[in-house]
Amino acid sequence: METDGHFARKDLLGLEDLSSEEILTVLQAAKSFQEISRREVKKVPTLRGQTVINLFYEPSTRTRTSFELAAKRLSADVVNFTVSESSAVKGETLVDTARNIESMHSDIIVVRHPVSGAPHLLARIVKSAVINAGDGTHEHPSQGLLDLFTIQEHKGKLEGLKVLIVGDISHSRVARSNIYGMRTLGLQVTVCGPPTLIPVEMERMGVRVTYDFDDALTKTDVIMMLRIQMERQHGGLYPSLREYARLFGLNRDRLNRAKPDVLIMHPGPVNRGVEISPEIADCTRSLILEQVSNGVAVRMALLYLLSRGAYGKAAH
């Protein structure tokens, strides 16, 4: 597998500081791995003898499974750790856990944590490569990359496209990673949601902010719907799911007013009937399932690129 090599990093913690060359390197590698996933024998020996540890402090079957599948298709050994919230509370610090895991001679640690910055703390301590599989409400870089990959597959390009991200921007790591990646690659991003779900000084991230979904959806090439969390209702952030769906839900009516070739995306899992109505989630313009399968290819690319970095360090 040859890539042009613009990816010399120990860790992937976020898309904030990735250059456009680095992002394009990942997307290009993902394209090659996508082909492998379509073969009859979906396995290559690229990471044979390497150990990938999935360290998940939050239950997330889809992201974990996606990384696991990606690692296995590259012939790596995979160990899954699901740390329940309660044992974390009992006082074993993240630093302790990191040291324990490192003693198992891991090569790559994939970490999901409910608190922003936890993978950064981990990455400072361990020698293994660290992939952030979602930290708090900060970043979810592999999701951002697979979204970019999926858009590119359909539009044939990225630069200049208009993307509308709708929903709970405040609590979305998917939104942040997408915004960083998209801004770097020259896409135009608008975020849309009630003011209670849009954090302060959002515009400084290089995006437009609007509360008017109906107006914004007519001008966009991609609509990315975010999952609304039911708990937020109790925090006074929106009054009811019904009202939320009426103002910010994507339904047939709204879709009819969008561009005919608009792409519909959602990081999943979807609350059908809330942020997205059932018939839309399954319609032809919806890429939700494709996002899932592209996720494996993008994660294979990340594991490959980071393992190569780790190998390079060990060899010299």
Partner: protein, 447 residues
């Protein structure tokens, strides 16, 4: 030591308006005399040429953690850290275990400090029993035992009625109510300042209004009751405005600022280093500018450290679970000396805000080199450049975000009641044991 002469230093005592080369004679632990260089004699001498001699610093906001949290700090280690920072008096907050909400705990702290302390310890009593925010603590009993103020610091006094009663009741004993201003209902789960940085990092935000709502309420209650209010660790531009206005109206309010709110902004949180997690949170550069303006125009009376030690393990937790707080006794002076360089304060104004001003707020006879007062003083080297290294700290804890900073200025020797309690450099010098005066000898270079 019967008599000790501090020779040749530049004495700076804002409480007396002294700013000159002077010798200072200590007798039996008290300041016995100040005089022009060469006019005073003693057998024991500390050579302070080229150094600045100031009243020992007074920190009105320290967490000594004892009783109950001696794995974070003890009275012994906390006061040792104080001495190393040039502080000779510290007021310690009541959020210990048990809480200092009764005279037994107050007496315990004072006794422990008498036995083990390298600095004078002035306990702050709790406002409410167990810091529960419901019933007043036995303020009168504690006042008799020696508290110098009341505060539920660490927790705000949520209940406005209780705060009103605290201000009224404490006024009977001349005690200030020290308010940790925070409306917790506005920032559920908040861990850092609300700003562009929190937006990018996705950490739960604490807006400036969280503090300012309480500052405004407490000012109104002080106006209503005429009770003495002191706002702890002011961190926002809005708080400075509210306090400035209140002072103009004659409301009996004072306030303090911490070095970390002056010299760090929320940009520091980008490291996700938990030593930058503090309450109130590190704010923006605009807030920092307003705090400086507050210092300049006198709105902000005092500089206090809010020294809040935490064990390493607690600070190794992730950002949301790690406790709030950082330590400041050993870094306060070199950091604040930058205010002089920046032109915010004169050296004399800075020393005032670290000595006589906090002493005045707490009504304690400290922060002055007046003849007859305890010989609590610090000898400062204003030129000394070095790198802050937490491994050298006297504190039991290491949670300091200034580790590795290059600074200038240090307390090289600290004396309490005439006794050396901290000595970074040996300044001792013996006078000649002859009948003629040392001063007739050729001048000796001592540094």
């Amino acid at each position: 030591m019967e008599k000790l002469l501090i020779r040749g230093g530049h004495v700076l005592d804002p409480s007396r308006g002294i700013d000159a080369e002077m010798d200072l004679l200590i007798e039996k632990g008290r300041i016995a005399a100040l005089g022009p260089p060469g006019t005073l004699l003693a057998e024991e001498i500390l050579a302070a040429h080229g150094r600045c001699v100031v009243p020992g610093f007074v920190d009105m906001h320290t967490h000594l953690r004892e009783p109950g949290f001696d794995y974070k700090e003890t009275i012994r280690t906390g006061t040792a850290a104080a001495a190393a920072g040039g502080f000779t008096s510290v007021a310690c907050m009541a959020n210990t275990q048990p809480v200092n909400d009764n005279r037994t705990v107050t007496e315990y702290i004072l006794e422990k400090a008498r036995l083990e302390g390298s600095a004078n310890v002035y306990p702050i009593g709790a406002v409410s029993k167990g810091l529960g925010g419901e019933e007043l603590a036995e303020i009168g009993e504690m006042a008799e035992a020696g508290i110098v103020g009341i505060s539920d610091d660490g927790q705000p006094v949520r209940d406005s009625h209780l705060m009103r009663r605290a201000l009224e009741y404490a006024s009977m004993f001349g005690l200030p109510v020290i308010s940790h201003c925070e409306d917790k209902t506005i920032c559920p789960g908040g861990v850092m300042n609300e700003s562009f940085v929190s937006t990018e990092l996705g950490l739960n935000p604490i807006p400036n209004a969280c503090e300012e709502i309480m500052v405004a309420r407490d000012i109104l209650l002080a106006e209503l009751t005429r009770g003495r209010l002191h706002i702890a660790h002011v961190s926002t531009a809005g708080s400075v405005h509210l306090i400035r206005d209140a002072k103009r109206r004659g409301v009996p309010v004072t306030c303090e600022v911490t070095p970390h709110h002056l010299f760090l902004t929320d940009e520091a949180v980008r490291s996700f280093d938990t030593t930058t997690k503090v309450n109130p949170p590190l704010r923006t550069a605009a807030d920092g500018a307003a705090l400086r303006e507050g210092l300049r125009d006198g709105t902000i009376d005092a500089i206090a450290t809010d020294h809040a030690p935490h064990e390493q393990a607690a600070k190794e937790l992730d950002f949301s679970m790690a406790p709030f707080g950082l330590i400041g006794l050993e870094t306060a002076f070199p950091l604040c000396l930058r205010l002089v360089k920046e032109g915010v304060l004169t050296l004399s104004q800075l020393i005032a805000k670290m000595t006589v001003e906090p002493a005045r707020i707490l009504s304690i006879p400290k922060g002055s080199l007046a003849v007859g007062s305890d010989a609590d003083l610090a000898i400062l080297d204003l030129e000394k450049r070095y790198v802050i290294d937490v491994r050298n700290f006297r504190s039991r804890s290491r949670n300091c975000p200034f580790d590795g900073w290059e600074v200038q200025g240090k307390a090289v020797c600290t004396l309490r009641a005439g006794e050396i309690v901290y000595e970074a450099e040996n300044l001792r010098e013996r006078s000649a044991r002859t009948s003629w005066s040392y001063d007739n000898l050729p001048r000796k270079i001592v540094y």
